[in-house]
């Protein structure tokens, strides 16, 4: 379940953040939302996406660091 939308994005785990993003997108696609609310949700969703992307980038860097090139052995 998505956490409270007021929680600081940076404190969310990736799973929590992406779940909230999915919930926001779902609500945008299915509900009639006030422009202000829409704006807030989009803003929150984009912040969550940015957070997730940051986490992804960090994990990618970590993976690269851990496994090097990860080339197929000869």
């Amino acid at each position: 379940m998505p956490k409270d939308p007021n929680v600081d994005v940076d404190e969310l785990s990736y799973r929590e953040a992406i779940s909230e993003v999915e919930a926001i997108v779902l609500s945008l696609e299915s509900e009639s939302i006030d422009v202000d609310e829409l704006s807030a949700k989009v803003s929150r969703g984009l912040a969550l996406v940015a957070h997730c992307r940051t986490r992804l980038d960090a994990v990618t860097d970590e993976v690269d660091r851990l496994v090097g090139d990860g080339d197929e052995p000869s």
Binding site: I18, V35, L56, T60, G70
Partner: protein
Amino acid sequence: MDRTLTVTELCGFVAGVIDEVFPEEVWVSGSISGLNRRGPHAYFSLVDPATPSDRQRASLPVVLFAPERARVNAMLNRTGAVRMDDGLEIKVRGRIQYYPPQGRVQLIMTMVDPSFTVGQLELARQALLVELATAGLLETNKAVPLPVAPRRIGLVTSSGSAAEADFVNELRSSRFPFQLTRYDSRVQGPEAPAELVAAIAAAASREEIVVVTRGGGARTDLGAFDEGDVARAIARCPVPVVVGVGHEVDRSVADEVAAISVKTPTAAAGYLVGLVEQFEARVESAQRGLVSVAAFSTEAASTQLQAIEGRLHRVTSRAGARADADLTRHVHRLATAARSQLNGLRMGLGVAEATLSASDPHRMFQRGWSTTHTATGQLVRSPADVAAGTTLLTRTAGGSITSTVDQTKTTGEET
């Protein structure tokens, strides 16, 4: 014949008849009996050996005077095979003579035929060998296991003889502590066979090995060693018998039946010393063998260990290389999977971001769209939502516009 003869006349007459009947020397064979060689002359009787009763046995006195005795002895010495002794069968030549002082017919011996005696002995010897072979006695004593290092030795020989001294000296000169027991026995003459048999039996009951020995002599001196009783005693002896009878050419029957046969008393002792030396050498060799086997085993074990280590190393290396390759492959798969996951996530994020961006009212406003609410904040979705005079709040990209409704017209009503 009314005339009465004197003894001398009669004896002369008998002598004349005998001279007439036996004008030349004759050959006669028989066994020696009552040999008397004290003094320069020798006397004995020739008897038939195979006569059942002594009382019925014919007997011929033989006289060997000193000159003939010297010649006969020279002949015997040349052949080396025959020595006159009681019981010996012999063929002699001589002149038949009537000897008046003793009133008897006697043979004045002039010559001997040694080959006759040798032949007789050989015949008897061969017959005995056949008999022993038939009874399986030629191999009996040889089948008795030899002691590996005999210590208790029974010496059967004539006490005080040179043979005894030779044997004892040879044994003593070795460094081995033999325990020697002497069993005295005559080794020559009519009593020799029975004494040898008794001595062998006595020695066999106490000793590990029995030595029967005597010094060299004429073939006939060794007659006891061709006797059946002696041969059987040796063959049936429960311990091995070493026979060392001094002879150069022929082997006695004792030699044939004994476990071991050597030529002299010294050789007999030497054989025993050799046995112990062989044992000693075998022990030493075995010791050396053990050491070298141990060394070889250690070396072999070491080599084997090295080989195993090498194989282990190669296997480990291969396993390591394999594991390394496996790991690398796994790492690669991990990396690929991780990146794939990340890319998926990234794509998901992109989709979410695009969706969100598409929903962003700001971007709609930028493109000229706007939203209009009533003063109460209700979104105006159609002209029916408002009436003339209603105050409207319109949001655009640049800000907001407040206006009042003049007129409403629904779609289709527009001209």
